[in-house]
Every structure is written in C-alpha cells, then in structure tokens.
Symmetry: C2
Subunit: 216 residues, 2 copies
DNA sequence: GTCTATAGCTGGATAGAC
DNA sequence: GTCTATCCAGCTATAGAC
C-alpha cells in the first residue's frame, strides 16, 4: 500500500470526507466520487463496490490516526496524563471529524454486516493502543487488581464513541458528561496512591465481588 | 394521545420494529408499512412524512419503556442496586431491542437534523430518571461533591449507548468492557463509605482540580 | 485507467377512485 | 380513512467507447 495511484487515494479520502459530511447513511458511490472529484464508475473499477471502498478507507484512516498518536501515547506515564491525552485526542479528532467517522461506521455496522469486520478492526487499533498504555501505567496499581485492563480499554473506547454520538444529539449534555467523568477520575488517582492498609480493605471488598473471566 | 386509531398505532409499532430489524438506514415508508401490515400511502396521510413518524414513534416508545422502569428506579437505595438495575435494564432492553432503537436513532441524528430533536428528548427521558435516582442515593456522599450528578447521568446514558453500538461490532469486547466497569464500581462503593479523615484527603485533592460549571 | 450512457431497482411523495 | 397507480429522484452496477 506504499505506492498508490492518485485516483485510488482520492477515493479513499473522498470516502472519509463524505462520511464526515453526510453520515454513513448519506454516502453513495456518487457522493464519494463527487467529493473526491473523480468519476463515479471508478469506485467500482478500483474497489469493486461501495462497501469495499468504505472498508479500505476505514482501515487506512484509522491506521493514520493511531500512528499520529503513537508517540504521545508512549509518553504517558500516569493516569492523569492519559486522561489529559484522551481529552486532547477527543477535541483534536473532533475538529478533524475522525471520531465522527468512527462513530458513523459503528452505527452503520449495526445495519450492514459488511461493515462489521472493518469497523471492528478499526476499533481494535485504538483499543490495542489504549490497552498497552493502561497495562504499562497500571502495573502494580490496585486498579489493575480490580478490573481487567483489556476490559477497561474497551470500555474507554466504547464510552468515547457513545459520548461522540451523544454530542450530536445533545451537545450540552455531552459536555456535562465529560466534565463529570473527569472529576470522577480523581477517585482513580486516589486509588492509585492507596497505602497498604487501604489496599487490604479494597482487596477484601474485591473478594466479595466475583472476578469475571476475560475473553480473548 | 390516549385514544388513537388502530392504523396510527400500527404505524408507530411498525416504525420501531422496522428500525430494530433493518436499522435507521434501512427504514422507509415502504418497509415500515410492510412491517405494520398497512398501506404505504398511510404513512403520509397520518404523519405527513417518514421523519415525523419516526419522531412520534421514538417519543412514544421511549416513554413506554421509561414508565415500565419507574417503580424499579424508585426502589433503588444504593449505588450497588442502581448498578444491578442498570445491568438488568441493559439485558432486558437488549432482548426487546429497544436500546438498539435508541442507538440507531442517535446514529441517525448525526446525519439527519430532523432526528436530532426527537432523539434528544428520548435521551432526556432516560437521563432525567437516572439523575433523580442518583441525586437521591448520592445525597451526602463524597461522590456528589466530586462530580455533578446531572453530568454523571448523561455520562451513564452515553456510555450505555456506546456499549450497545460497540456490541454490534465486537461482542466479546463489549462484554469485557461491561465487566470492567462493574468491577470498577467497587471503587465508588469504597468512596461512599469513606470516613471523615479520608473525606478530607479527597476534598483537598478536589481543590486542585477545577470544578466545572454545569450547563442547564 | 477513465469516461459516457444506461439498465434496473428502490425510495418519497401525491392524485384520485372508492 | 384506505387503496391503486404513478411520477420523479437517486442509487448500484455494468457495457462499451476512448
């Protein structure tokens, strides 16, 4: 994929731009081609179908975004820093419209099973990144004893997408939700700094709750 | 709305059933009418347009579901009970397909601004219920000092929707996320039972973080 | 590789008979 | 209130000229 003729790349970019502009329900070979500034028939010549183009665009766009954040993810050393990065990422990607694209694809995947696989692998790129940071900074933390790191990574990704969609319907509500979650994060910081006595207390509570098995 | 002729009601039910079955992108006057077992032209006679029918159906269906849970919400007296009810609600509504309908409408609202208002008011019905329970059971709790109750209610609703959409693309990931969040809830329980010393420590940390203003 | 043209289908919406 | 019939727009996908 290192070398790609101009038209194929234009179609990839056009597909993402079209989703951003019209939503997944509003994309078609015609709208994509118009956005890309190329002929409509080329969608089928290069990608066979609209779905396959969307799948390719989803994959390429997500990879690009994840790569763009890799260094910043790697630089994170605390929960607070991760939360700050999360906030920044949300705002930057919102500006660029990329979180919207992911949310749209996720919504589209509910309807169209041909979108399930590409969407799932796009989400996986993000959650893998989050999981690797979490497992690094939560090593030895009581939080890691309480919840599966992989599950947390999935929860973070799912909540992000949910908040993004929520914002489209109720912007003020979404802002309040974001603020509340950030404030709640203070609790996690406190938990991270627990002394041995408090840790024992937490552990005894944990014993009462069943520890779920994580799926692969 | 207490008395409604049979056909109008059939169309309302048909609209919800059609969304459940085909997703927002797959609903049309024809599919709704077919699901409802009535003539396609009646969509326009009774509701003027497909969008207006969807708005009415969204409103009616959500009200019905919220009403069905009102007593159970009212019976909740602790955070743990609320979480259990949340889990039960998610599973029951998932079974009935209603969370899917809400998620679909939310996705549709990103695309079609005519869906924004009905979707927002449907979400508001849920968040109002959650907020009233939260403010009751969190009265005097340090959690209420940390985060705005209304913001928390919005966050819960948004995360629920996000998880529902996530489940369509990656079922195993969604299950892990749910488990992780439940385990994390142990932290909230601990916070609820904090003694005076620990509360003071928490409060001093809180002072460092700015308390955001809540929107109306 | 890129274009035009078009087949074949589905959808929103309306007119007018009953 | 309900039905049939129909118009027109937009869609996927392909055939075939260049």
């Amino acid at each position: 994929m290192r070398f790609m003729i101009a038209t194929k790349q234009k179609l990839l970019d056009g597909a993402i731009a079209a989703i951003r502009e019209h939503g997944v329900a509003g994309v078609s070979a015609r709208t994509i081609a118009a956005t890309a500034g190329v002929n409509q028939a080329l969608v089928f010549y290069h990608y066979g179908s609209v779905h396959e183009l969307l799948a390719a665009a989803c994959r390429a766009a997500t990879q690009t975004r994840v790569d763009a954040y890799r260094e910043r993810f790697a630089a994170v050393t605390s929960l607070r820093e991760l939360l700050d990065l999360g906030r920044a990422l949300h705002e930057e990607e919102r500006e660029l419209g990329n979180v919207k694209v992911l949310a749209q694809l996720l919504a589209g995947a509910q309807v169209d099973e041909k979108l399930v696989a590409p969407t799932a692998s796009a989400l996986a790129l993000w959650t893998a990144e989050i999981e690797s940071v979490l497992s690094r900074i939560l090593a030895g933390s009581p939080i890691a004893e309480i919840a599966q790191v992989r599950g947390l990574a999935h929860a973070v990704a799912a909540s992000f997408v949910g908040l993004e969609l929520y914002e489209g319907a109720d912007p003020a509500g979404a802002r309040n939700a974001f603020s509340a979650l950030e404030q709640l994060a203070v609790l996690l910081e406190v938990a991270e700094d627990l002394g041995p006595v408090a840790r024992r207390a937490l552990r005894s509570r944990l014993a009462k709750a069943r520890r779920p098995r994580v799926s692969p």
